[in-house]
């Protein structure tokens, strides 16, 4: 039982990270029907920026906790600027063009960002400075660390903040209006360009936090770390129903848990025929099954004529 519980914890932590990244996908999709495939790379840039800033400040004699905080803020600011520029450079000029066109620029931007990161930070794995003290908890036979607790709590807080923003503020109302009908929203005096830019900026800030989380969780970072994470988070968003905030969160956490349980138990269920090397495949089996049987996702709602 404690092993089952441990797998749930593993999945929950992994899933919280997926959920946070998935929000970035789903927010942009909900508003403008675009899948921003460069989002995973924003996560990676966030992690690498925070490493550079944190280690530079720590080397200059700043306490590690404070340096980490600066690193996080720097990563968020950089990623917000990056998200804004992505929209401005790669997507806004193409608004109104066929659906496939911005998808292709998104992939192009993703490759550009990966290669830029490779040039700036090199090809080797980088070690992430331990931002939080190494505290291990033991509960009912399961082990978890302070970093894991912080990841789950911080993700939950950020998601709650985002829901508040979308459903309780004026900007949120403008976002929902734009999602329903951009033309009418614009006639009502909503500045569409500003709304879309803010969706990118907010999503990128969340991505930066996710990057710092992934980095401090595994204590490594690499210029290709955003690629797989981005695909998984996209899967989570589709699983929950893309365009739907609650769906992205539930989809992320669900996907994390499915993966952990899958890797932990597939060998036992299939008598060793399939092993844990199929761990990464679960995400995509889930994606295919959902697209086949419930294309709108688990929590999918009819969001107008958007999808």
């Amino acid at each position: 039982m404690d092993i089952f519980l441990q797998q749930i914890i593993n999945g929950l932590v992994q899933g919280s990270i997926y959920a946070l990244v998935a929000l970035g996908y789903t927010m942009v999709y909900g508003i403008m029907g675009l899948i921003n495939f460069a989002h995973g790379e924003v996560v990676m840039i966030g992690a690498l920026i925070s490493i550079t800033v944190t280690s530079t400040l720590a080397a200059a004699g700043m306490p590690l906790g404070l340096a980490g905080l600066f690193g996080l803020v720097a990563a968020m600011l950089t990623c917000m600027a990056l998200g804004w520029s992505l929209e401005r450079i790669a997507y806004r000029p193409l608004r109104g063009s066929p659906r496939l066109t911005p998808l292709i620029t998104a992939i192009g931007m993703s490759i550009v960002l990966q290669n830029l990161a490779m040039i700036f930070w090199g090809r080797n794995y980088m070690t992430f400075p331990p931002l939080l003290p190494k505290v291990n908890f033991e509960f009912a036979g399961t082990h978890f660390t302070l970093v894991q607790v912080v990841i789950v709590l911080l993700s939950a807080a950020l998601m709650a903040g985002l829901v508040f923003l979308v459903y309780r503020t004026k900007l949120g109302m403008a976002m929902r209006a734009t999602a329903q009908n951009p033309a009418v929203a614009s006639l009502m005096g909503v500045n569409i360009n500003r709304v879309i830019a803010s969706a990118f900026v907010i999503g990128s800030a969340l991505a930066a936090v996710a990057g710092v989380m992934v980095g401090s969780y595994y204590e490594i970072a690499h210029y290709q770390m955003g690629f797989m994470l981005g695909l998984k988070a996209f899967t989570a968003a589709v699983l929950g129903g893309i365009g739907n905030l609650a769906g992205a969160m539930a989809g992320g956490i669900l996907l994390g848990i499915i993966e952990a349980l899958g890797a932990g138990y597939i060998g036992d269920f299939t008598g060793g025929f399939l092993g844990s090397h199929y761990q990464d495949i679960f995400a995509f089996i889930v994606l295919i099954v959902v697209l086949m049987f419930k294309p709108s996702g688990l929590f999918g709602e009819k969001t107008g004529d958007r999808a």
Partner: protein, 406 residues
């Protein structure tokens, strides 16, 4: 509209996955130093293949430097083969540690009519490429491909100047039994190297009376191992063996400690590197790993090679540079004895090699493996590898621990 989106999303995901594999870097040919033009000379081109980009680029550069040192020494000697002066030239290619890329660059070297090949670095690239070299009749000496399959395919062109994983797996299995553990869990990264080493370790561990309680798998790009480690925890294994490279091994050993797993950790040459200790941090301390060969300090020509290497390149030897150096020397020595630089003429001479290399004595058995394959076990201690013992057919190891900085 829903269905259309699904199709687009899926195909995009697929295209995306493909694009990640398609990043290429132009191979950088290594220019051989210009020799003074005296009398007409034959240019002997030697191919060198290793990953020069990607997470294993540091190891590829190390091999290339070793081979380059050998080529420059040979040229400085003014070697004459069959009455003509020869000038060696190293043609360096990048296989990105990717089996597909390995065969592409192998074909490129064959088309460029090189006289011999030093490489590749990884077993996963060496094995598929060896078929092409065999078909072309081109001698291939790998400095570091340890998977036994490489020389078991019946290709008379395939040689290696390093102990194979049967030898290494056996030593590691017996070493594990000596640690007083009864049960082991085995993880491998599903590459030709990782899987091969894990298989040989499993055989040796079982032969030594250990019980293998879990076989788990990951891949050579993974960062999260918590799910498989949790499963291993439930089996109460006393030792975890990892067949794979340092970029995964480091985080893996760290996550073991995070999950409160008390089992010991043991790995092969892929994790016996400074990179592993950097990524694993304090979690690696006190654990063991092995490297084929004998520490350079204990070999007649070792210390001399080390100082020459460091004086020339200004950085330390990582892992297989001495073996790459020896691989070049094996080819040159065979050409000399054959009196020809033509592959068909000097190939039979490679099998008869008797050479005292910087990495040990080199003599091949009928498969192209070393007849004496020594394996050395090290312990991680505060960011350094400490010598523990050398096992297998090598000169007796001294009692005093020798610190091996890699």
């Amino acid at each position: 509209m829903q269905a259309k989106l699904s199709v687009v999303a899926l195909s995009v995901a697929a295209a995306f996955a493909l694009s990640a594999c398609g990043q290429k870097d132009a191979p950088a040919p290594v220019a051989a130093p210009a020799a003074p033009e005296a009398k007409p000379e034959i240019v002997v081109k030697l191919g060198h293949v290793a990953p020069m980009t990607g997470p294993q680029a540091h190891l590829g550069k190390d091999n290339e430097s070793g081979a380059l040192l050998a080529v420059e020494e040979l040229n400085a000697q003014g070697l004459e083969i069959g009455g003509a002066k020869v000038k060696f030239q190293l043609v360096s290619e990048d296989d990105q540690a990717d089996p597909k890329q390995g065969t592409i660059v192998a074909q490129k070297l064959i088309d460029a009519k090189v006289n011999g090949v030093v490489g590749h670095l990884n077993s996963g690239t060496t094995i598929p490429a060896s078929k092409l070299y065999f078909d072309a009749g081109l001698p291939q000496v790998s400095p570091s491909a340890t998977n036994p399959k490489y020389t078991q395919q019946g290709f008379k062109t395939a040689f290696r100047v390093m102990a194979n994983d049967i030898q290494q797996g056996k030593v590691l299995g017996e070493f594990a039994a000596k640690q007083g553990v009864k049960t082991v869990a085995i993880i491998d990264d599903r590459t030709a190297y990782g899987q091969g080493l894990a298989d040989e370790f499993r055989k040796a561990a079982e032969a030594a009376g250990l019980k293998v309680v879990a076989n788990e798998y990951t891949n050579d790009k993974a960062t999260d191992f918590k799910a498989i480690l949790t499963k291993i925890k439930s089996t109460k294994a006393e030792l975890v063996f990892y067949g794979g490279m340092d970029a995964q091994g480091g985080p893996l050993v760290k996550q073991m400690k995070d999950l409160g797993i008390k089992a010991k950790f043991l790995g092969g040459d892929g994790v016996c590197t400074p990179e592993f200790m950097k990524l694993g941090g304090p979690a690696a301390d006190g654990e063991y790993c092995s490297l084929p060969g004998v520490p350079l300090e204990q070999l007649a020509k070792g210390p001399e090679f080390k100082s020459k290497f460091e004086a020339k390149f200004g950085y330390q030897i990582q892992l297989y540079a001495p073996n790459a150096y020896d691989a070049v020397m094996v080819i040159a020595d065979s050409m000399k004895r054959a009196g020809s630089v033509e592959p068909a003429a000097y190939l039979p001479e490679i099998a008869k090699t008797k050479l005292e290399g910087v990495s040990g004595n080199i003599e091949f058995d009928q498969f192209g493996d070393l007849t004496s394959g020594a394996i050395t076990v090290y312990q991680y201690q505060g960011g350094a590898l400490n010598y523990v013992e050398t096992l297998g057919g090598a000169p007796a190891a001294p009692a005093a621990p020798v610190e091996e900085k890699k």
